[in-house]
Symmetry: C2
Subunit: 216 residues, 2 copies
């Protein structure tokens, strides 16, 4: 690790901002998008359960339909790629069985060797005390993905705007999610800033390290 | 943006894993830690409200006290830097006033110019429908920070292990958080993997792009 890498990372994080105006003509190239999608898939999650699905909304008609349920924020229709993060509505034994079976296949190990791991998941996020709040737990995993993707975008000089100001229930209707086992949590618009976006020039507002990081 | 950057980012994300055994003798250098702390402070949050505080636990006695409330996971005591993410228990008009006042100072703008922004925050996350779930909203912002920090650590070749398996109430007691307006949400151990950590060699288990990313 050298200083150039460190400085380059911090410069990327200083460069990024919640982009208000995208340049609709500037599209993320296929190779960069493939990397961002790969980064999304590589997101770490609790137990590795990946309790989410990402919906890439590229159909202009669907984007237009989402706009009024997004406080009219134009990023929805003007960005290059629009990702809706959806989380499992509940966690079932089938979710756990699916992960176990996939792990057995990927790692080429005997299924029985994961019994302890399986029972731990079942006793926690399915049938345990956290089972009742499993959607919220899954939503938090979406936010790991959101944080990861925003940082990766910045590193690859791609602009982004996180969208909490959306109506999840209306998104669910328009994206046909009702009954799918997934619910809308948050969204992220990705692309490139328009030259005229005045927000790009505003100073970043952060509390001091002393206020945010306390050492004990 | 060139292919080297893209490949280097993906390699970092492939390289990382939830480190089970840290090398306690290998400490994150001051310049790398400064960058990671800076990255943490630069985390994007909803409205920019930064409704969290990060507690860096370096006192060995405190780490030892947290261990039994962390399912006995040794990462707590063996890692180089241990960060506990805490989120605001509720959002008050004072939280909004603090952000407005800081923004006015950093950007050198008249306070009145932010009235609309202030009222939007008050009408949403303080007094609005989401006000009742403000702690959960703040916890989600912690997860953006967690996702951001895990990715930045990987980019800087620093190992990490996210810790959801902790007892937040016991952490609150031990860290003196009761009555502070903040509650423990999640933690992250950072440092360098021990050579013998067998988990480093396991294949990563992720569902396919087709399962996780749906295009509409």
């Amino acid at each position: 690790m050298n200083n150039t890498n460190i400085q380059s990372l911090i410069q990327s994080l200083e460069w990024r901002y919640a982009t208000k105006v995208f340049n609709p003509a500037k599209i993320i190239s296929a190779d960069i998008w493939a990397a961002l999608e790969k980064a999304l898939v590589l997101t770490p999650t609790s137990y590795g359960l990946q309790p989410y699905q990402f919906i890439l909304v590229q159909d202009p008609a669907k984007r237009a339909a989402l706009l009024p349920h997004s406080w009219g924020q134009k990023q929805v229709v003007e960005c290059s790629h629009y990702i809706v993060f959806t989380a499992r509505t509940e966690m079932t034994p089938a979710d756990v069985a699916k992960l176990i079976s996939h792990t057995v296949q990927v790692r080429g190990i005997p299924a029985g060797s994961l019994d302890f791991y399986r029972d731990m998941m079942l006793g926690d996020i399915v049938n345990g005390p956290r089972g009742k709040a499993a959607h919220e737990w899954a939503a938090r995993q979406c936010y790991i993905a959101l944080g990861n993707l925003m940082t990766c975008a910045a590193v690859l000089s791609v602009d982004a705007c996180p969208m909490e100001g959306i109506n999840p229930a209306e998104y669910d209707n328009l994206l046909g999610l009702n009954g799918s086992g997934y619910k809308t949590v948050v969204a992220l618009a990705l692309g490139y800033r328009a030259e005229g976006d005045k927000y790009a020039r505003l100073k970043k507002v952060r509390y001091s390290h002393a206020e945010l990081v306390r050492t004990v």
